[in-house]
């Protein structure tokens, strides 16, 4: 399997994500944000955490308009598997790949600790990885992680099984305790917690490893269509 990790100025979880991808058996290429096209034949794309463009204007706003992001959105549009973590989730929302917005934490503090999540879906690779209802522990580290969307959108996400993870004990004020959401086809996941920081016992936990294993299994079973 071949995976790409998008790199913006200010990305700082890119190498952690690449390492988690490699650990799941993938060959990894780093993708610079100024490129206009993706290398052909990628099975998975990851958008990592960090502080792309210094969080200027809004978190993820400038990164979302980078040339490469147009290609990433197009890749998702033809059924490709994409995971966006933390700042990567913010970038995805700003790029319109997933609905809603991430706002300043309700408590105004940067929250950096390991939290308990409930797997809230049986869909897509998160459902495959854990099964609905399972509890997992992953680190969060963010200042702008309060997920917000209008009531209609939240109802739709819940109704379609697209809320992937919920916080047990809400660390940031997210609507309906939402920690991560899926696209309509279940192949694009955006989440605030960091599964790539929980793939090795040395990191204090390994609950993230199953997510990457399931991601690559899903991408192998249902690859993206070739570009038109």
């Amino acid at each position: 399997m071949r995976a790409g990790v998008v790199v913006f100025p200010g990305s700082n979880c890119d190498r952690d994500l690449a390492r988690a991808f490699r650990r799941a058996g993938a060959r990894v290429e780093m993708l610079w944000h100024k490129e206009a096209a993706l290398p052909p034949g990628l099975d998975v794309i990851g958008i990592p955490g960090g502080f792309s463009f210094g969080d200027y204007l809004r978190c993820g706003a400038i990164a979302a308009r980078a040339p490469l992001m147009r290609a990433v959105a197009e890749y998702a549009g033809r059924g490709g598997h994409v995971i966006g973590i933390c700042n990567g989730f913010q970038v995805m929302l700003e790029a319109g790949m997933l609905p809603g917005a991430l706002m300043r934490n309700a408590g105004l503090k940067f929250v950096c600790r390991t939290v308990t999540l409930e797997v809230a879906t049986d869909r897509g690779f998160p459902g495959e990885a854990y099964g609905k209802g399972r509890e997992i522990r992953l680190p969060v580290a963010h200042h702008d992680g309060s997920y917000q969307a209008d009531g209609e959108t939240l109802d739709r996400l819940e109704g379609e099984g697209r809320v992937a993870f919920r916080y047990r004990g809400n660390p940031n004020g997210s609507a309906r305790n939402i920690a991560g959401i899926l696209s309509e086809n279940g192949r694009v996941l955006g989440m605030m917690p960091h599964p790539e920081r929980a793939v090795d016992p040395l990191q204090g936990g390994t609950d993230g490893a199953a997510l990457f294993a399931a991601l690559f299994a899903a991408a192998a079973a249902e690859p993206a269509l070739r570009p038109a």
Binding site: L57, A61, R65, M103, A106, L108, A149
Partner: protein, 79 residues
């Protein structure tokens, strides 16, 4: 031509920073501050000479980048 873009959170969207400012004002003895909403002001200098065209471009800039219309509203004015 100079444009001023004002970006504010939409009505009903919780503004925790505004709330924190309101509390701080209360602590300083400013009573009766019912609400504080915080936003952004962005000043632009454009080569446009036609005010209508400049305003239209400013609004397009807001839609595409300067505001996140999921949570924010914007106003564009000529300075």
């Amino acid at each position: 031509m100079r444009l001023r873009v004002t970006v504010m959170l939409r009505q009903g969207v919780l503004d925790p920073q505004g709330e924190a400012v309101r509390h701080a004002l209360g602590a300083l003895g400013f009573t009766g501050v019912r609400s504080v909403r915080q936003g952004k002001v962005i000043d632009l200098e454009l080569s446009d000479t036609d005010p209508e065209a400049a305003l239209a471009r400013g609004r397009e800039m807001c839609e595409k980048l300067l505001a996140n219309t999921v949570i924010e509203r914007y106003e564009v004015e000529i300075l």
